[in-house]
Every structure is written in structure tokens, then in C-alpha cells.
């Protein structure tokens, strides 16, 4: 089966905004990604050392004591993202194992840089109290000043560093 062409990013952008609206309407909360991973990490830490999670107020906030770190809307939203991606990939004939990278690097290098970049972004998102979904999209939609500042900073950071890592993609 030939993969179906990708949908128009403009139409999908509008749809994403409507999904955000629906999320506010149905659950009373916006969208988020890094929060779910944060909670998954706290759950792993808690299974290894509950005392550590309880004693660290930052971690305890996400699931100290009897609270289950995974009992949160964001976790289910991320499961939905994976399942939705699966359905979309299967329906459009695009479901396969693949590693996308530029012509000049290997699969291994792509993994390495993805992990380094992901770690930077994860760290940054914790400093900014959220990532592109939680802060830029959700906070931006409610016209929060901090969210707009974060969004500008994300774009500025990307433009500022893209030149130096261009060999990874071209």
C-alpha cells in the first residue's frame, strides 16, 4: 500500500487548536507531554526508592505518599497520543520501523543526538515548568505572558543553534 500523503499542516494546526479547546471543555485542563514523562519517571523512582520521592518536595508533589504518580490526566492523554498515532499510521499505510536522519549521519549518530537533544529539552522544559504542549500551546492559548516568553525562547533557541547542527539533516 502506498502511504497516503501527509495532511496540510495548516488544517492540522487549526484542528490541534480545536483539540486543545475540547480538552479544556471536557477535562478542564490543557494538553501536555513532558508532564506525563515526568510522572512516569517519578513512578519508576518511587518503585525503587519511595523514601527518596517522599523526602524530595519536588518529586513528592507528583506522587508522594499514597498518591500514585500515574493517576493523572496527562498519562492517559499520552497513551491516547500513542494509540492515535498507531491508528493514523496504520490507516494511512505508514506504519513501519524506521529511523529518519540526514544523509550524512548514521542511525547510531541520529540516536545519540536525539537523546542529547531530548535531554536538553527535558531539562529546559522543567526550568520553564512545561514544554511546547503544556506551556507554549496551552499557556499560550490562555494568553499567559510566561508562556509567550517561553515560546519565543524555544523558537529563538532553535534558530540560534540550527546552523551548528545543520549537518545532521542536510
Amino acid at each position: 500500500m502506498q502511504p497516503k500523503p501527509y495532511s496540510s499542516p495548516y488544517v492540522m494546526g487549526v484542528l490541534l487548536g480545536l483539540i486543545l479547546l475540547a480538552s479544556f471543555f471536557i477535562t478542564g485542563q490543557g494538553l501536555g507531554a513532558s508532564g506525563a514523562f515526568q510522572r512516569a519517571i517519578v513512578a519508576v523512582e518511587k518503585s525503587i526508592s519511595p523514601e527518596h520521592v517522599n523526602q524530595n518536595s519536588y518529586l513528592a508533589h507528583y506522587g508522594g505518599g499514597k498518591e500514585n504518580p500515574l493517576a493523572n490526566y496527562l498519562i492517559f492523554q499520552i497513551i491516547g497520543v500513542f494509540v492515535g498515532g498507531l491508528i493514523s499510521g496504520v490507516m494511512s499505510g505508514r506504519f513501519r520501523v524506521e529511523i529518519n536522519h540526514g544523509p550524512q549521519i548514521t542511525d547510531r549518530q541520529r540516536w545519540l543526538f536525539a537523546i542529547i537533544g531530548g535531554a536538553f529539552f527535558g531539562f529546559g522544559s522543567k526550568l520553564a515548568r512545561g514544554c511546547t504542549s503544556g506551556v507554549a500551546l496551552t499557556g499560550g492559548a490562555s494568553l499567559s505572558l510566561g508562556s509567550w516568553a517561553t515560546m519565543m525562547a524555544i523558537f529563538a533557541g532553535a534558530y540560534a543553534t540550527a546552523y551548528f547542527v545543520r549537518r545532521l539533516w542536510i
Binding site: M1, A71, F76, I79, V83, L86, I87, V90, M91, G93, F95, R96
Partner: protein, 327 residues
């Protein structure tokens, strides 16, 4: 006023801490036991129907995985035992009213029956492995005794259908037992439903069928077992509905147990992991596949297998949370 004092073991110090007494081991064991039951049932039916040409994976390849998976499951079960050195005591007695005793003996029957079926089908199912194994044995010190192996294979092939009949019965017993093991424990209202036996049997058969779909290369075989799996998923959904109706129309404790998955803490796990990801999503993909759409062949069966594991995890956990007395 009449005052009734009730004293239970739950009043003991830290009784609550021991409620999660079964961790990952029992759900994994029940899942692998269920898959093995499914394999035995599906392979036996394929052999009894003489479909080894039409359904080569089901009739010749599938059964090899029964002893492998049941051994992995029993290893998980063994890890859960508190007194590991006394495990052999199971085999000094047979207690007709104890599902654990039934289970212990059923598990013993699984091995000889599946080994005999493997003897009868291995050459056809895995010709390359057979040739390699044969030349390896011939070159080893066991070489002169290979004629005994040929003799055993010949006998197993001759009585293949009789062995398959016995395998079918034991497979059904194994599948039902994995559910009855939980349902016979009356102290946990969530488990206290006789329909758990058929539910776990059907789920096991569905996962066994999913394995055939994973293994099958022949398009006709895959589409037949995809259709069969769709029927099993529909049956499983129907039994799950009956299970919930049964609980919700019983005593107050059973109603409270049903509430765990009808608005309570386990509602998302039950509806998202079991019903949506494990049953409805693979059914949706299977329907599309049967309608001629190209679906990656391993997606629906992997979802079915994942759903089977989730079913055991949620049921084992929910049972341990549910109780007759609030505390």
C-alpha cells in the same frame, strides 16, 4: 439496639499492607497459562480437522510454543511461592475441591501431551530445524539411538488424532482453571463470579489464535484465523458485559466491587487497557483487514496479546482491592 462485634484478620496490625500480596508473577503466570491453553485448543482443533495443508502454522508450528510458554509461566509462579522447596508437596496429593490441586495436575498433563504432538508435527512444521537436529544427534554419542526417536515419531504420528483429542480436553481445562483459580476464592467479591472460567478460556483462545496469525505465512490461513479471532473478541466482550451485570446485580459487596471498574480507581485501566486497546482496537483493525485493507500483519495480534496480559493484571489487582468489609 443490638450490637454485633466483628473481629477479622483485617484488624491485625498492618493488615492493609499485605493486601497487594500478588505482584506481577501471578498475572504473568495466568496470562502465559491462558496463551498455552489457547495454543493447545487451536492446534488440537487444526489437527483433529486434518487441516495441516490448509492451516500449516496452526496444525504444525503452533504447538511447539506450548511447553515453552507454560514453562515461562510456571517459572513466574515459582517465584511467587513463599516456600519454594516444598513445591513437590503439590504432587503427593489430589484435593478434588481445590483448584490449585487441579491446576498442579493439569500442568503436569500439559507436558507429555504437547511433547507427543510436537513429535508428531515438528518435521512438517520446522523442516530446517528438524534436519539440523537430526544431523546433530547423528554426529553426537546419541547417534546409534536415533532409531528410537524415529520410532517415537512414527508412533506419535500414528496416534496423532487421539493425542490431539486429549490435548484439546486438557487445553480447555487449563484455560478454565486459570479463571476458576481466582473465582473460587470467595473472600474477594470481584473474583467471586463463575463466569471468570469461560472469560479466561475465551481470552486464552483469542491469544492463541493471535499467535497463529503472527506465525501464518499463508494468506488463507491468516484470514481464517483473523475471522476466528474476531468472533472470540466479540464473545469476550459479551462475557465481560455479563460479568459486570452479574456483579452489579448481586450483593452490596459485589456492587462495590463492580464500582471499582465502573467509576472507581480501576476504571481507566479496565476500559482503556482491556476493552479499548486489547479488544476493540484489534477488532477494528481485523475488520478493516477482512475488508481488504492492508494492515501490518503483526499489529492486531500484538494488541490482542497485550490485551490478554492487561486483562490478567487488572483482574488480579482488582480482586485484591475488593473486600467484603470496608476497612
Amino acid at each position: 439496639m443490638t450490637e454485633i462485634a466483628i473481629t477479622t484478620g483485617k484488624h491485625a496490625h498492618e493488615a492493609g499492607a499485605s493486601i497487594g500480596i500478588w505482584g506481577w508473577e501471578i498475572p504473568v503466570y495466568l496470562f502465559l497459562g491462558g496463551v498455552t491453553a489457547g495454543i493447545m485448543v487451536v492446534a488440537a482443533i487444526a489437527i483433529l480437522q486434518g487441516r495441516d495443508k490448509k492451516w500449516p502454522a496452526a496444525a504444525n508450528k503452533l504447538i511447539l510454543w506450548a511447553p515453552v510458554l507454560i514453562s515461562a509461566g510456571m517459572a513466574a509462579l515459582f517465584l511467587d511461592l513463599s516456600h519454594k522447596l516444598y513445591v513437590w508437596n503439590f504432587y503427593l496429593t489430589f484435593q478434588i475441591t481445590s483448584p490449585m490441586s487441579w491446576g498442579a495436575w493439569i500442568l503436569v498433563l500439559v507436558y507429555p501431551l504437547t511433547f507427543l504432538l510436537i513429535l508428531a508435527t515438528f518435521k512438517k512444521g520446522y523442516p530446517d530445524w528438524y534436519a539440523k537436529g537430526e544431523s546433530w544427534i547423528k554426529a553426537s554419542p546419541l547417534g546409534p539411538y536415533i532409531k528410537w526417536l524415529y520410532k517415537a515419531i512414527q508412533l506419535a504420528e500414528k496416534y496423532k488424532k487421539i493425542i490431539a483429542g486429549a490435548t484439546l480436553s486438557v487445553g480447555v481445562l487449563l484455560g478454565i482453571y486459570t479463571g476458576i483459580l481466582l473465582s473460587s476464592f470467595g473472600a474477594r467479591p470481584f473474583w467471586n463470579s463463575a463466569i471468570l472460567g469461560p472469560l479466561f478460556l475465551i481470552s486464552g483462545a483469542s491469544t492463541g489464535t493471535a499467535l497463529v496469525v503472527l506465525m501464518a505465512r499463508d494468506h488463507g490461513e491468516r484470514s481464517f484465523f483473523t475471522r476466528a479471532d474476531l468472533g472470540l473478541i466479540a464473545t469476550e466482550l459479551f462475557i465481560l458485559a455479563l460479568f459486570l451485570i452479574g456483579l452489579a446485580s448481586s450483593s452490596q459487596q459485589h456492587i462495590e466491587a463492580a464500582k471499582l471498574v465502573l467509576g472507581g480507581t480501576l476504571t481507566p485501566a479496565f476500559w482503556i487497557a482491556i476493552v479499548f486497546i486489547g479488544l476493540m482496537l484489534p477488532a477494528f483493525f481485523e475488520i478493516l483487514e477482512l475488508k481488504g485493507r492492508e494492515i501490518p500483519k503483526y499489529v492486531p495480534p500484538v494488541l490482542v496479546l497485550t490485551g490478554g496480559l492487561f486483562l490478567r493484571i487488572v483482574f488480579v489487582y482488582a480482586g485484591q482491592v475488593s473486600a467484603w468489609a470496608a476497612y
